[in-house]
Amino acid sequence: MSLKFGAHEFADDATLVMAIVNRTPDSFYDKGATWAEDNAFERVGLVIDQGAQIVDIGGVKAAPGVEIDVAEERRRVVEFVARVRAAFPDVVISVDTWRAEVARAVCAVGADVINDAWGGADPGLVDVAAEFGSGLICTHTGGVTPRTRPFRVEYADVVASAIADTTAYADRAVRAGCDPRGIVIDPAHDFGKNTIQSLEITRRLGEMVATGWPVLVSLSNKDFIGETLDLPVGQRLSGTLAATAACALAGARIFRVHEVPETRQVVDMSSSIAGRRLPAKAIRGLA
């Protein structure tokens, strides 16, 4: 399926890198490196140069912590989105929020995609996406409350649950008037899941791809990688790239990441192995 986020269209065989840009002082990986607006703006320029087609701007870290109300979240992201829109008209701007009120504000200043990382916790979000013609990332959290860690969450079949919930959310978005070409499903590794479950989601990602909806994976430096390899944050790049390769082979379309160049190479290599992408230069033995 071809992808369309706002005015930005991508072919049905395109794989996209979505670079994380946090407007937070306390996210788990960058620990506030782009909390200052100018630093965040510099990162946007950097990741675009590195080949990211999408930037995903977030104002609230996923983990529990200080309460960030709507007003503060708006302060963190709305003006910044407007600044990025003005400076980089060709990049797709995604905003990571579960709140319809914030989504409305960022769409009004040029955001192209709403990344609802908490799986429809605010039922009004789809209406905002439909009203502005923005894309929507439909994630699976198993019904947990936003900004909570999973605690003894179990599933009879975690993949079946992820498929049922994300496709139901996607269908709801279509009924609300969203363009199907802008709707993406995301199994949401680590969200409402333990490590065993996130590994199973990775192993069986092809089942989500088989739904026909484009699949986004957000794997970058997450705990399921850290627990699998017994490595702390900061030492999880190899594990992230291994999981990225598995998901790329299974047919994922969008990769939400911290490290753009490494991801781009792994996705391209995996896509070529899968026969979905031609080599950049095939000369050896052919001259």
Binding site: P64, G65, G142, G143, V144, T148, R149, P150, F151, R152, V153, E154, Y155, A156, D157, S161, N194, I196, E227, D230
Partner: protein, 193 residues
């Protein structure tokens, strides 16, 4: 003779959630010891006291409470059996305290958890059935303690006077775990007691 043992309700005790390197090796051994003690004293079967499956997990198609699966696995592993003929005098309680003891805990830090767990451990160490039966369910829920029903079942089971033995107490992941035994009779002198 009435006896009871307690192990935590952590899913890490289930084989399907095993790790290459056991993150709870000391706790697991303590659980094996107290269950082995209980099984020896009740070879005809032990009963389980667990809490019901959470509504979230019921919605995910989970039909059997995790405590039941944990208890069954430990009892069978110890060579015992679950009581088929009604409640046994040997009760295995599968329950944990709060899950909010640190910033990294599943429920993050709630300062009330320490007082909650201190009072709970006091009730366990004293075999205080009244305190166990009167646990504050609202506070427990706020502190991510999901096992009020199991603690209350323990309270109903215990009768004074008791000999109490705690073999493990700790919160390595910000979740309060205990392993221990209660008995009306004399304590065995062996590795488990």
């Amino acid at each position: 003779m009435r006896d009871a043992a307690i192990v935590p309700s952590t899913l890490m005790l289930l084989p399907e959630y095993s790790s290459l390197h056991d993150p709870i090796d000391e706790l697991r051994q303590a659980c094996r010891d107290v269950v082995a003690w209980l099984v020896r004293r009740h070879p005809h079967g032990v009963s389980l006291a667990t809490s019901p499956t959470s509504s979230l997990n019921v919605a995910h198609g989970i039909t059997q409470a995790p405590g039941q699966r944990i208890g069954r696995a430990l009892v069978i592993d110890a060579g015992g059996r679950l009581s088929a003929a009604g409640p046994s005098d040997g009760l295995l309680v599968v329950a944990s305290g709060s899950a909010t003891q640190s910033l990294a805990a599943p429920g993050s830090l709630d300062e009330r958890s320490h007082n909650f767990d201190d009072r709970l451990v006091g009730a366990l160490r004293n075999g205080d059935s009244i305190a166990l039966e009167n646990l504050d369910e609202t506070l427990a829920s706020a502190l991510w303690c999901q096992d009020v029903a199991a603690f209350r079942a323990l309270g109903r089971h215990l009768r004074s006077p008791l000999r109490v033995r705690a073999t493990y107490a700790g919160a390595p992941f910000g979740v309060q775990y205990w392993a221990g035994t209660w008995t009306e009779g004399p304590i065995e002198v062996d590795g488990a007691s």
